[in-house]
């Protein structure tokens, strides 16, 4: 699993990568009440808005940590947004992207580096 400075995680499996927000981000958001997911087939570049998570008093963009095409979304999230709080780095995954450039994920932080990064915040 790799991490971005914007607190997204990405887990690559073959040419597809699952994307979600980190446990740290989920904690900062508070109770997630809504998740807005992209349409299938949408292509995004790394750093572009991919999804939106909302708590009662905030709406936050989730940026694509890597470039690719949306091939699957977590259809259970809109009806159960609390999953993002309960299991942010597993069941709370948001989008699966077909990677445009598999090397991109390698440029992200590993867990140790991300935890180091968190300690500087």
């Amino acid at each position: 699993m790799r991490f971005s400075k914007e607190h997204e995680w990405v887990e690559v499996s073959g040419e597809v990568a699952a994307v979600g927000v980190t446990a740290y981000a989920a904690g900062q958001l508070g109770d997630v009440v809504f998740v807005e997911l992209p349409e299938l087939g949408k292509t995004v570049k790394a750093g572009e808005p991919l999804a939106v998570v909302e708590s009662v008093k905030a709406a936050s963009d989730v940026y694509a940590p890597v470039s690719g095409e949306v091939v699957e979304v977590n259809a259970g999230l809109p009806d159960a947004p609390e999953t993002v709080n309960a299991s942010p780095e597993r069941d709370g995954w948001m989008v699966k992207l077909r990677l445009a450039n598999p090397a991109e994920a390698e440029g992200l932080m590993d867990r140790a580096a991300y935890e180091q990064f968190l300690s500087t915040l």
Binding site: E54, V56, K57, A58
Partner: protein, 447 residues
């Protein structure tokens, strides 16, 4: 000054605590050149009696609608408002409170909004309504913007029966944000003409029933055509009493229903403040503008209400908000809700029937005047008549005979070439004597 409780002794004591020698010093961040040395050039303060006398003199220079025969409609309607409505809205707890930011001490306002939202949803036949907009015209403009967001298209077709002020307010808001509006030629019975204008860029069609000429239209076929092209149908209603008798917008396939709620609970007020009604289908609620109140529970499990889905709004989403609106028409919505509660569905239906019946009597009386012809095929409580002479000077002349005759269409839309069209309206406040006096004066004026 009677509204300012601080005494000079208070001020001196407070300055001491603040640690300044004068109030002047508290303004030292203001550039010296911009500080006024003394009062601006306006009159000094006045006692309550003097203010009341001065403003009463101005009020006396107006001719109130209730002072004699009166037939204006076209987006603002004179109805009887029960005395208890005005009593309740003047209670301190409703009048002098603000947006329910702290729900624990604002349940009165919040429950009213929840009830209001339900009433509007029922009246419009749509599942969700918001806590109100500024007025019907701004609600119409916001509906077009919402349709553009939902469909990701950028054109709205406005029917020729849409109130011209609504069309102009919609154009004003939409065009700067890159949404174009195509307004069709004004005609009394042409709502269905929008069908021919729908194309693949069309985000929505906007129709009005009863329209500005008073024509009632079943818009189901328009809904079908819009939906077939992937566009939404926005239905506008300016006379809320019509909901008591006519098919609701939702029943006819509207995706968004907007309207002016002034008729219920609110005085004419020379055009404002009014209360905009806004309802839509459930799927679109997150694209809705304006405040929404929702049900929840408190820490002890008791039912309560809060403002909700606020992430749509400007104070959270800022430049990505669904609208810049930061208020609703709270007290006017309260007046609407109280009056609607007093009416109930039974009272509203009866009120609507009376309005319709009075308008039919007006139609019969005016039709008997030589040269006057009703050009509205099916009407609720207002209709358009074609006169043998321009309507505006005629309306002015009838004032001399004590009659406020209606709204010359050309005043709303001077370029339409409909100078001889007069929009007239009758409500439960219009008596048979009023109607007879109007018909007689009109006949004399035209002869």
């Amino acid at each position: 000054m009677r509204y300012l409780p601080l005494t000079d002794a208070d001020r001196a004591e407070m300055l001491k605590v603040v640690g300044e020698g004068s109030v002047e010093a508290l303004f030292h961040d203001v550039p010296a050149a911009a500080r006024l040395a003394g009062p601006v050039d306006l009159p000094a303060h006045l006692g309550e009696l003097e203010v009341e006398q001065a403003l009463s003199r101005l009020a006396a220079r107006n001719r109130p609608a209730g002072a004699g025969p009166f037939f204006c409609g076209a987006g603002a309607y004179r109805h009887h408002v029960p005395a208890s409505v005005d009593h309740i809205i003047q209670r301190s707890e409703f009048l002098t409170s603000y947006t329910p930011y702290q729900p624990e001490i604002a349940q009165g306002t919040l429950q009213v909004l929840f009830e209001f939202q339900t009433q509007v949803a029922q009246l419009t036949g749509l599942p969700v309504a918001n806590a109100s907009m500024y007025d019907g015209s701004t609600a119409c403009a916001e509906a077009v913007m919402m349709a553009a967001r939902i469909t990701k298209r950028s054109k709205a077709i406005l029917s020729g029966g849409l109130h011209p002020h609504y069309a102009e307010a919609t154009w004003t808001l939409a065009h700067s944000a890159g949404v174009t509006t195509e307004r069709l030629a004004p005609a009394p019975d042409a709502e269905a003409a929008v069908i021919g204008a729908i194309d693949r860029d069309t985000a929505c069609v906007v129709v009005q029933t009863p329209n500005v000429f008073g024509t009632v239209t079943d818009v189901a076929a328009i809904a079908e055509a819009a939906h077939a092209a992937g566009a939404l149908l926005v239905v506008v209603t300016t006379e809320a009493v019509a909901f008591g008798l006519l098919k609701s917008p939702g029943e006819m396939g509207a995706d968004i229903a907007v309207g002016e709620g002034q008729s219920i609970g609110n005085a004419l007020n020379f055009g404002g403040p009014y209360v905009g009604l806004f309802a839509c289908r459930e799927a679109h609620v997150r694209q809705m503008p304006g405040r929404l109140c929702g049900e929840t529970v408190d820490a002890d499990g008791r039912r309560g209400f809060v403002l909700t889905l606020s992430t749509r709004e400007q104070h959270i989403r800022r430049e990505k908000a669904t609208s810049n609106i930061c208020t609703n028409s709270g007290l006017c919505a309260l007046a609407f809700s109280i009056h609607m509660t007093l009416l109930g569905q039974a009272g509203l239906k009866r009120l609507a029937e009376i309005n319709h019946a009075r308008a039919r009597r007006l139609d019969a009386a005016l039709a008997a005047v030589p040269g006057v012809r009703c050009i509205t095929p099916r009407f609720f409580n207002e209709f358009a008549v074609r006169l043998p002479t321009p309507a505006a000077p005629l309306a002015d002349a009838l004032v001399q005979r004590g009659i406020v005759a209606g709204v010359p269409y050309a005043r709303l839309d001077p370029e339409a070439g409909l100078d001889d069209v007069l929009l007239v309206c009758a409500t439960e406040t219009t008596s048979s004597d009023d109607i007879a006096a109007f018909a007689a004066a009109l006949a004399q004026e035209l002869s």
